[in-house]
Symmetry: D2
Subunit: 354 residues, 4 copies
């Protein structure tokens, strides 16, 4: 980290989680899953790339899928308020000793000039302001399919030290809506810029790895619908956990895995967090409702499996083992008491799954 930690003007004014860029190994398989099944709209595509957005998204995309030899997260991208915030972001990360790189407008379809940085947590993050606007599909109900994704809601990342991740994003001006903790340990935290429960959340584990991308859908029956569709096609193994309601966030959810193992959450009905004195809700780690308000146990893979992340040069970032007490060891999830180690294998950069 740089010598000062103080940059004129403070951190960049991040507006919200905007999109993620993922590597997938088979673009046709990815298209089947994300477009035909989940119902994302294709903003642009070529032989090796898909630009996808939800029906409420008004900028170019929420996900970029690029064909590559192995699945990974390339970077997480946040939208900032002004072009100056892009520059301010470059300075801010550089002042913290982070390697940064300017990306010219158009290098990613629909995205203006941006800066990317290797953040202190080990993730490559992008900041941009200018964006191409996409056709408004909010009221194109005839185009809705599958899970009816409306917009990207959040990133969830696996980090070896949740407190460190929390402090980093707090310094970036994020609020904290909810945590899982006990008297000595912060197990997980949900942090936001836009007025919802989160733009980013942290899960304790070997990292840096990408846990999942969360997408908003308007009502809970669409969460059930995508489960129904997966069963219909006998590809129900793409569902990993849920449907259920989270204790944290109050959202109704299901977790899916794409053909490369990228985890997707379909998510609805969280709440407004925009008031200046919004208080953090703190869940005790032994409350069985924190991860599933109905009391369903979290499946082990949800804790242990996550996707590798890349640095600015496209190299897989090394993974550090978890540096804190594991939630599954102390929590109420049934499988923690199962076969020894089931819930805490750590397991390294588990690439994909099924």
């Amino acid at each position: 980290m740089g010598s000062t930690g103080t940059v004129a003007g403070g951190p960049p004014d991040i507006v919200r989680t905007a999109y993620a860029s993922l590597r997938v190994t088979d673009i046709a398989q990815a298209r089947w899953f994300w477009v035909d099944l989940l119902g994302f709209h294709v903003s642009d595509e070529d032989a090796s790339t898909l630009y996808l957005r939800g029906s409420d998204e008004l900028i170019h995309h929420n996900v970029v899928l690029r064909a590559a030899g192995a699945p990974a997260l390339e970077y997480l991208s946040y939208r900032v308020r002004t072009p100056d915030d892009v520059a301010r972001g470059a300075e801010w990360f550089a002042a913290r000793g982070c390697r940064t790189r300017w990306i010219p407008a158009g290098a990613t379809e629909g995205v203006g000039e941006s800066v990317r940085a290797e953040d202190p947590l080990g993730f490559t993050v992008e900041l941009f302001c200018d964006a191409a606007h996409a056709e408004r599909l909010i009221q194109r109900f005839e185009l809705r399919r599958g899970a009816e994704p409306a917009r990207i809601d959040h990133f969830n990342v696996v980090v070896p030290d949740v407190r460190l991740a929390f402090e980093h994003y707090r310094s970036l001006g994020f609020g904290c809506s909810e945590t899982i903790e006990d008297d000595s340990t912060l197990y997980a935290a949900w942090m936001f810029r836009k007025q919802t429960v989160h733009d980013v959340a942290f899960t304790g584990g070997a990292g840096p790895r990408l846990h999942h991308l969360g997408f908003f859908t308007p009502e809970s029956h669409s969460v059930l619908r995508i489960c129904d569709v997966l069963g219909s096609l006998h590809v129900e193994h793409h569902r990993e956990r849920g449907p259920g309601r989270h204790g944290v966030s109050n959202a109704f959810y299901v977790y899916l895995r794409d053909p490369d193992g990228h985890r997707v959450e379909i998510y609805t009905s969280d709440y407004y967090t925009g008031d200046p004195d919004h208080e953090t809700l703190r869940w005790r780690v032994d409350d069985p409702r924190r991860r599933d308000f109905y009391g369903n146990e979290v499946v082990p893979s949800w804790y242990t499996e996550a996707m590798p992340v890349l640095d600015l040069d496209g190299t897989v970032c090394p993974v550090r083992e978890i540096l804190q007490v594991s939630e599954v060891k102390v929590g109420a999830d049934g499988f923690a008491a199962g076969p020894a180690g089931a819930g805490s294998s750590g397991s390294g950069p588990a690439a994909g799954t099924r």
Copy 2:
């Protein structure tokens, strides 16, 4: 009516409403509306005919649409319990002075030998038992679209004398779930064979005419969805009335009109009527909730417009004016108090609409 009125073995054992055969003037337009928008599954088709079914239907079809020069109802078709009931039906109608005709198996795709009769109310009705089974689509959620029609639920017919229609169907063994009435007049009745609120219902007016076909969808959000889709495509004029909940039947509904003016109800959440002592629920004609439990007024076209019906030879049946007090004159629907005559124009065989 024949001299006896008594047939050995009594009336045929009707199982349920099975399908209707409609004439449409443009098969491509009909396909757009019934298949692309509403979401019916195509069981069979050729240049001039469409055989459609809902996702829960296990026999060949619920609707036949045939290209012709003018829209009309050809006939209403009921399934009976055994082949003997087809013969019993032929005798039963003949004994009442009704013209009948045997139709060989396969004359309609997927339908075994049947008998058709010009019933005392002026409608051509068909009875059949044998039917081709169709592929089970109940759990093919990936094929659901639009209103997600599951099965045909009921016929609603316009008759000049509701009491007469009631007595006719009572003699056929139908139960009566609900009525609209006052001390002197029966304005409408809902009658059933299967264990739901109805297989057939009667609306008082110039007749015989077809009021609508009712199709079941599993949940109310699918009723809303088809309204959303129509608005998306700016063809919202195909929606005529609703969405809302009926007082009668408790069903959540919307009424649509196809390109020829055929009225379609999307209908969900009525109730079980299978107990032997199921009592008729009688609504007072001045209860504003009877037609819409929320109190929304019925639009005038819903009372005045209906489709012509054909006899066994395909000739349009002459329409008799209403022979009883009109519901809209005495009822609570706001428009009855509107511009003189708006609600009771009677209007003859109003063919189509927009």
Copy 3:
């Protein structure tokens, strides 16, 4: 079994599953669970008995809960078409060597003269025709709470020999909508009299025991609601399995356990089975979607725990071990591969749970 097996007039004409009589150990706790939480309507009650019905039920009750020293199923009660069918049922069971007993009208509130029999499967079953009608609550939306139970849908019983249970109910005139089977074994069957997927179903296991009572609710959001309410009150341990969609029946469901361990299913959106040639849908035992269409594993307790049943004298019926291959040994449920024996403990008359 009696010498003839043939009774004049055949089996009684059973209309549907009507109610079950359960023993509970704490009537106040039972009232809290069934009335305050689940939302059943109280038709009658005294210090030791509760008579409960769903909002669509038009006869007196769907469940009787009686205070006693230990939880048990007293009897399952079916409604028959005519008073003669009660007598016919008495003869029919007697002819099969079953002990029967006439119960005078009014012995159970709201129920006319009935006959009870110890059926060949070891359950006490009641047949009645006359019943007191209850106030119609179908459109009393202001009274709906919790799971919004509308009517009883089915009984599910645990039997050591599913084939035997299937044959018994087939001889009583029940149709079979679905099964779980393989080339050599019938693992489970769903059988109906009313026009739904079932009135009774069989689960293979040590028996006779009661597996669960199934209640219909109009839409899936009410299934989610009761899960939400349990979490709110931090009594989520009363939820055992789900929410999810069944492969068998296509119904959306959740399983709950009352304070005595009686299992309750909240169930919606199955399908019509009333056609005379309705075909049985056969699920392979190794299809992971058969028990949960989304692929969620069945929890072990769901297979192993069930409630004791009483004979005509109120004595607990002895339980026989399962006589066939266990579904969980050959099926796809993940826990079958877990700790040895977890899924097949048989376990005797496991009384209650938590």
Copy 4:
């Protein structure tokens, strides 16, 4: 308006619509409607005042209802970001020639020091920052009833000059999400501070009057539920318009009227507007979907009836006739073609309704 129009520091930083203070003539009747039927939570109450909030609200209240001799809007209250913004607001309004008054902390239960101003549109508006926090009820599903109001979403006010209202709120820093307009006239506008479609909207008509208060509910089935409940109790006349989906905002809605005629909208499923370059969506006034995406006509009372507003001294503000072309004269709502003047009666301070 003051001589400068420029205040150091610009306008106050308004966070969102927070609550409205209404006069009602019968507090018991109001409690029945708002609490027992709609499902608001009571934060505080005495013999003449009710403080109500939705289940997601974390500050003290969203509505204050005070007993008085005639129904009226006392004031609209916005929350600002800091205590300095309260002072900045006082200066800002004063600089525009508006009468202002400081209100000490606690004068309204749960509200810190605030300033109230008679704004240029004729409404009394309050700005406050400090607020008492209320018990978190977001996950108290067992307390949800009726329409399940979650939080206040917006105010809708009737103004004689929509353009003037638009300019006023733009100078206060509000964004504009949608409008109804044609080449010469702005008929209506939706403006926001929080990241939803609106905090305030303007309807053209005789004003200043309060059109309605809009409350958010999580899903559309709760909108249907309150309609069901009103019908159940045969008080369906408290529903005025809907259910339906708005073209503007895409929200699913119903409008109700309380016992004094105060209009309440239950509203769900609009969209995120937080991006800095969020574009205004402009509806043509002749698009029949703008007010109801399904094409249902707006009922005349919805355009003509609204509630009087009070000045800082509690005196009813005089109403000016509409100063622009009326939407209903040029729009597509069917009744505009009805009896002359039906849609534009203006009608003065129509106090209540039924």
